[in-house]
Structures are given as structure tokens and as C-alpha cells.
């Protein structure tokens, strides 16, 4: 018997729960097909888009993919490379050849030291989870100012909204620069009041972004911020 169900209404499914027949449908993330039946493998909300059944997990670890824009912390420095904490199971490796500067062997520390924060892109991920990062690219740099806020990785899409609509609203409301890393870290730069508001708003979007009350809460927060700015 099917315990979960597909369709417009979202259902919370748990690992092992039978979703329904797999005939004519594709298994997306969090779903496996066994004996022509879909079975959930993760705790999350069931979703069906374009004949693909998948699960929006409630909790998930960051799994780096090639091309991801990430906010990383320098965790370790060697003679010719940096190890970055990218909020995943494994550290990312940034070789000096992929840094935006001309780095002499042994002089890596002069450019970036432990604790520095960078905006980087995932260059390559192999099947053993070795992650190579690059800082060669438009906008990729060491972040010398601003602050970094962390939210659960699975809620990054909520922060962006459709066509980055929600993100743009946040930027406009707090008058800050905001960069969203795929690894759940968000860089915010601007006036201290704006940063404080943005941090509060980001946490709200992450926790309530999927609820019906979200629009009203965000509108209230925007209005409150606007009144503060006018005063």
C-alpha cells in the first residue's frame, strides 16, 4: 500500500516509505526504484515535477558539484596550496596555480592565511570526493570585509527565490551586497544596521520560507526596515 503520495500537495515522507508505482516516472534525488515501486530514502517533502519524483530533504549535507560558487574559510596553508573548509564532509583544495595571484612556492601564506574567507568556485570533484577549487574567474576573490551568515544547505533555494526574486528583495531592503554560496554560507557587506537586518531576514527565510505566512512576515520586515531608513 502506498503510504506517501505524489501530486500537488506536499507530503512528508520517511526513509523506507513506499511512494507508489514507478511506471512512466523518473526517480529523482532521495528516491530509489525497487520492483517497479518508488521508495523514499530520506526524510523530506515529496515533490513531483515533470514526471520526476524527488524529495526535498529536511536536512542534507553539502555535496560539492563542479561549478558551484562557494564561500570558504582557509583551514590550512601549505607551500603551494590552501585547504579550504567548504562546509562539506571534505575540505576543498586550492592549488596556487588556480589562485588569482602569481604565487611563489613557499609564499602562499603571504596571500591568504588561516581564517581568511574567500569566494571561490568548485573546479572539479572526483568520485572519491576530492574537491579542487579555483579563484580564477570574474568576481572570485578574498573577502576582506563584511560578514558571513550560515544557513542549512537545503534552504539555499528559498533564499534565492524564483529568478532570484527573494534575494533581490533582501538586497534592496537592507541596501547590502549579498552573495549566496551553494554551501550554505552567505556573504553580506554594507552598513552594520543593514547587515543585522539581513542576518535576521536570512534566518527567517531559511526557517519559514516554505510556509504560507512567509510573504506576510517578509513584507512586515521590509516595511519595518523601510521606516527605520526613513526616520
Amino acid at each position: 500500500m502506498s503510504q506517501g503520495q505524489t501530486g500537488a500537495e506536499q507530503r512528508l515522507v520517511t526513509p523506507g516509505m513506499t511512494i507508489g508505482s514507478s511506471t512512466g516516472k523518473r526517480a529523482g534525488s532521495g528516491i530509489i526504484a525497487e520492483n517497479e515501486t518508488f521508495v523514499a530514502t530520506q526524510l523530506g517533502w515529496l515533490r513531483e515535477i515533470n514526471n520526476t519524483v524527488s524529495i526535498d530533504p529536511i536536512h542534507a549535507a553539502y555535496m560539492p558539484r563542479s561549478g558551484d560558487l562557494i564561500v570558504g574559510n582557509v583551514a590550512e596553508v601549505r607551500n603551494n596550496l590552501w585547504f579550504m573548509d567548504i562546509n562539506g564532509a571534505f575540505q576543498g583544495l586550492l592549488p596556487m596555480s588556480l589562485a588569482p595571484w602569481k604565487v611563489e612556492f613557499g609564499a602562499a601564506r603571504q596571500h591568504m592565511d588561516v581564517g581568511n574567507v574567500v569566494l571561490a568556485r568548485v573546479q572539479e570533484v572526483d568520485e572519491c570526493h576530492n574537491v579542487v577549487l579555483t579563484m580564477k574567474g570574474v568576481g572570485l576573490r578574498r573577502l576582506n570585509q563584511g560578514t558571513v551568515e550560515s544557513i542549512p544547505v537545503q534552504h539555499i533555494d528559498r533564499v534565492r527565490g524564483e529568478n532570484n526574486a527573494t534575494l533581490q528583495r533582501l538586497r534592496d531592503a537592507c541596501d547590502c551586497r549579498i552573495m549566496v554560496g551553494e554551501n550554505g554560507r552567505i556573504w553580506i557587506d554594507g552598513e552594520p544596521e543593514g547587515i543585522t537586518w539581513a542576518r535576521k531576514a536570512l534566518q527567517m527565510v531559511a526557517s519559514d520560507g516554505h510556509t504560507k505566512a512567509f510573504e506576510a512576515i517578509l513584507a512586515d520586515m521590509e516595511q519595518e526596515q523601510k521606516l527605520k531608513g526613513d526616520a
Binding site: 526513509p15 529536511i58 536536512h59 564532509a89 537545503q154
Partner: protein
């Protein structure tokens, strides 16, 4: 015939057990998910007087490197009984029993977790028994399964730990402390309720084939009931945020 040890009588004359349960009745079970804010996933299982807390961390890079597997994650389980969990104080730290239970629990969990998704990683599962009244390894497995699901770890099913046993030549479900100490057999199993598979099985004492079949029948019936409570615990935690 008196089947236990000494003069301990474990069944009343009407066939009920010392705590009034029927032979195929388990102790009351309650489960709560997400009780530890610092853990990636956590759960507390109360079964009779047993209290088991499980916390899950990871997947993370496996250290030391020699334990890494290039094609899958390793599950590192640490089962521990708190010194105050029984009436006699337990000496803190690992002992032979906790090492054995940690090992069998890890093997049971490895058969349900999709470990091939996280090569070279480690998933850390900490099981702490706060109060013990027989059946703690089963309560620990159940708590670990809920905590793993709460942490978003992909699994084929929610594994359930249940036990049956034999007292006074009668097969009974879910032994309590007196029945475990003075009974004739104990059969803890880890069951995957949706597929009916067995991921873990131990047997202490002797059971005839018929007794074994009856004990497994009780175990499967109890596993279904506990599984419903597990699903309910997970749904209760998150349904509040439903759109």
C-alpha cells in the same frame, strides 16, 4: 514446570506476566526526534523504563585515514551505558559488552544506510543509555535509526530493534529486567519493517524451531507497531512547518 532459575516465578497463574502484560504485549514506547541541537540528527526512545538517546554527526571526513573506504562511508557507532543507568553504578567507559553492541549495531546500520553515497566518509552515531531495564541494544538501534533519518542520511528503511524471549517455557515479547535475568532465552533482532528483512539477530539461550518462529512472529508484529511510532515522531517534529 518452572523454567527459570531458583524460585523466581515470572508468570502469574492467569498467564499474565509480573508487570501485568500479556505474552505478546510490549512495554509502552515513546519516541522524540531532534532533541539535541548540537547534533545533525538525534532521537530519544523510551521503552518501559529504558531511556536511550542517539545522536548522529556527519557525514564527515573519516579519521584516522586507515579507516576510510574508497567506495563507501563507514559507520562509527559508540554505545555506552551511563554510570547511573542501573541500580548498581556502572564503571564509566568502554567495556567488552559495549564494544560488542557497538559493533553489531554498526553492522546493522550499515546494511540500511546507503553508504555508497559517501565514499571516504564517516557517519558518527553515539548511543547513550540513560536508564536501563533490559532491551537497551534494541532501544539503541531504534533511537539510532530515528536520529539517522533526522540527520537526513539516506536509508533503505527505518530499522527497528525488538526482542522476544522465553520464560517458564513460554515465548514472550519484549523482556523486562526480571525476565531477562531469570528467563531461558532472549532473541533481539533488527527488522526492516517495509521489506521484512532482518539486519541483525542475536540469540542468548535455547529456542526450539517452533518457539523461534513464534518469537519472530511477535518480533515482526512489534516492529510494525514501533515503526509507526518512529514515523509519527519524525512527522510530529516537522509537520508544524508544513506549507
Amino acid at each position: 514446570m518452572m523454567g527459570g532459575y531458583g524460585d523466581v516465578q515470572l508468570l502469574n497463574e492467569d498467564g499474565s506476566r509480573l508487570d501485568g502484560r500479556k505474552v505478546d504485549e510490549m512495554r509502552p514506547v515513546s519516541i522524540e526526534a531532534g532533541i539535541l541541537p548540537a547534533a545533525d540528527g538525534s532521537a530519544m526512545v523510551t521503552q518501559g523504563l529504558n531511556v536511550a538517546v542517539a545522536a548522529v554527526y556527519g557525514p564527515m571526513e573519516a579519521h584516522p585515514r586507515k579507516i576510510q573506504r574508497q567506495d563507501r562511508a563507514v559507520i562509527d557507532v559508540r554505545y555506552n551505558m551511563a554510570p547511573f543507568s542501573t541500580s548498581d553504578r556502572i564503571r564509566p567507559g568502554f567495556n567488552r559488552r559495549s564494544r560488542e553492541i557497538s559493533k553489531v549495531t554498526a553492522e546493522a546500520l550499515e546494511s540500511v544506510v546507503l553508504v555508497e553515497r559517501y565514499p571516504r566518509s564517516k557517519i558518527r552515531v553515539e548511543i547513550e543509555i540513560l536508564a536501563a531495564e533490559a532491551g537497551t541494544r534494541c532501544a539503541g538501534i531504534t533511537a539510532a535509526a530515528v536520529a539517522l533519518a533526522d540527520a537526513g542520511i539516506p536509508m533503505r528503511d527505518l530499522i527497528v530493534g525488538v526482542a522476544s524471549g522465553k520464560i517458564e517455557d513460554t515465548v514472550v515479547l519484549d523482556l523486562d529486567k526480571a525476565e531477562d535475568n531469570y528467563g531461558q532465552a532472549d532473541l533481539p533482532v533488527g527488522i526492516l519493517p517495509n521489506t521484512g528483512e532482518i539486519a541483525f539477530l542475536q540469540m542468548d539461550g535455547d529456542l526450539s524451531p517452533d518457539e523461534y518462529n513464534l518469537a519472530m512472529e511477535y518480533n515482526f508484529k512489534a516492529a510494525k507497531e514501533i515503526h509507526e511510532i518512529m514515523v509519527d515522531a519524525l512527522q510530529r517534529r516537522y509537520q508544524g512547518g508544513e506549507a
